[in-house]
């Protein structure tokens, strides 16, 4: 069996009896981009900090490329490269000196060539000998990626990596992550933006109030077979239609649109035809039928329990 890039088992963090992260488990395959999605304050950053041992775990295990962080700390740490929130640097030193500093801390030797290679990869050749205090946020972000990649880690952990990047930068960043996974590197990214995850990740976990409430691939989430769509009917008599459908036990998630002769129910493709036939055969006029496509956004809101309140998740 091939080793997973990362295994997280029952990760739990309690601070003064308050549970911040509650029994979170997931796995990341090799060469996969895995997303941690959730609103701000859901516990994504806490999970990431526990993975990289910045904060202690109340319970749970972290295994990186087969190395257990408790038993083989140094080996597991050298398999990881990370940016935790904003990448911070020694502003009074040049970008190059900062990288050299981290290169010195690696357990495997990081050669001058490797540093140059990484600098070229993130496109900082022209600025790398300037002091970091002259860098823009985008440049710091790229230097952050550079320091995380220096020691050839097998797992890259990026906490809110697109913070402060412009759309162009985000796009480049995405393409760049893709090219990394082709070399067999796995990536974890966290974000509170679903649209971003949709474009970036292969699979993702939704974190809400410290709990992992859903893991799926982007395709699964959007797939119409997996999720029964909601269909809107416009008919001549809503009440009669309700009675009819109730007999057939088809009033799954029945909702009436107030003031209009419309109702919506949750049924699959085949049943739409059956319902239509039933209504028409009993003399109810069907003016229109149309499926309401559930977007990923709706699905996300539904899962995090904010859709019903109409709450908007930024």
């Amino acid at each position: 069996m091939t080793k997973k890039a990362l295994e997280v088992r029952s990760l739990t963090k309690k601070v003064k009896n308050k549970v911040i992260v509650d029994d979170v488990s997931f796995e990341v395959e090799k060469g996969e981009i895995f997303g941690l999605l959730g609103p701000n304050g859901a516990g994504k950053t806490t999970i990431i900090r526990m993975i990289v041992s910045l904060i202690g775990r109340t319970k749970g295990e972290v295994i990186v490329n087969g190395y257990h962080t408790d038993e083989q700390f140094k080996k597991s740490m050298s398999e990881m490269g990370a940016i935790v929130e904003n990448p911070e640097f020694y502003k009074y030193m040049s970008g190059y000196k900062n990288l050299k500093h981290y290169a010195n801390m690696a357990t495997n030797e990081v050669t001058e060539e490797r540093i140059k290679e990484v600098v070229k990869l993130v496109g900082l050749e022209n600025a790398v000998h300037q002091k970091v205090k002259t860098y823009s946020l985008g440049m710091r972000q790229r230097l952050g990626v550079a320091q995380a990649l220096l020691h050839n880690p097998s797992l890259l952990i990026l906490d809110e990596p697109t913070n402060g990047l412009d759309p162009q930068g985000i796009r480049e960043f995405r393409d760049y992550l893709r090219s990394l996974t082709k070399q067999g590197i796995s990536v974890i990214v966290s974000s509170h933006l679903l649209s971003e995850m949709e474009l970036m990740c292969d699979r993702f976990a939704i974190i809400e109030k410290g709990k992992l409430i859903h893991v799926s691939s982007i395709n699964q989430l959007a797939s119409q077979e997996q999720f029964v769509p909601t269909v809107l009917f416009e008919v001549s008599d809503v009440n009669q239609a309700f009675e009819l459908l109730k007999e057939q036990q088809l009033t799954n998630d029945w909702k009436v649109v107030e003031g209009q002769q419309q109702f919506s129910i949750k049924i699959d493709k085949e049943t739409i035809a059956d319902v239509n036939q039933l209504l028409v055969s009993k003399g109810i006029k069907v003016y229109s039928i149309h499926p309401i496509t559930t977007t990923l956004e709706d699905r996300f809101l539904e899962l995090t329990g904010k859709g019903e309140k109409g709450g908007k998740n930024e």
Partner: protein
Amino acid sequence: MISLIKNELTKIFAKKASWIYIIILFLAVIAVGILQQKVFDLGPSDPNWREDVQAEINEYQKILKENPEDEWTMELIQQNQSYLDENIDPNAYSSWHFMNGTVIGMTMLITLFSVIVGSAVVSSEFADGTIKQLLIRPHRRWEILLSKYIATLIYSFSLLVALIIFGYIVGLVLFGAGDFNTKFFETTLDGYKLAVVGDQFVLKVLYYLPSLLIIVSIAFMLSTIFKSQALAVGIGIFVLFLSSTLGGIIVMIAEKFAWAKLLIFPHLDLTVYALQDHILQDVTLPMSLLILAVYYIIFMVLTFIFFQKRDIII
């Protein structure tokens, strides 16, 4: 470990302030040296000094005839007589006198600068957020903290070496080469004692080292625990400048309560032992060293345990 210490030294010396402190130290030595030479007119021995001292004794004896009970004058005569007996020119001033007096006095600045640098070594990593990038490397936390501690001590020690070398050069230029074995009278709390100037200097430097170590360690501990440089520097300087004042108060308290001898303050300045054999009636050097050692171990254990357990949440 060596590479970690090198990294920390790189960071210390990449800050302009670290160099400015050395420059201030040099300027202070030059300024005080010139002041002593020009204003107080200190310089090499006058060949006719014996006649001058004898003339002074004659003057005092005239005063004594008019005032036979004047103890102050009697003491002055006695002191001048011992200059003649021991063949010591009281006004002779050479590079070694400069070392024993002024350069030793300047160690106060070394402690001050070491406290500032030592407290920044940990707290600035927290203030800049770079601590999280530092602790996700394949090194145990105590190793990283130890490397910082050693780097701080190396910086302090370099300051001391720089002061001694520079002080000697300035002394040589301004006051001329003196004999290391020159005898002189050192003023003490009980009066004065006959000593060899070079020996006194070496003794004071040796007695200074434990104090430097302890005060830097206190600053280092405070900056690790409170993550705040301002607080660490503040308390560090407070301890530094108040230890002499508090020491005086504690002398009085110690007469009534024996436990006051166990407080750290009277023991912080061991250079007193270069002048006398005991402090606080019956406390001797080994006792002071033992008390300092106990405090030192407590401080170090606290610092390292605290740092090892801390959750990094910035």
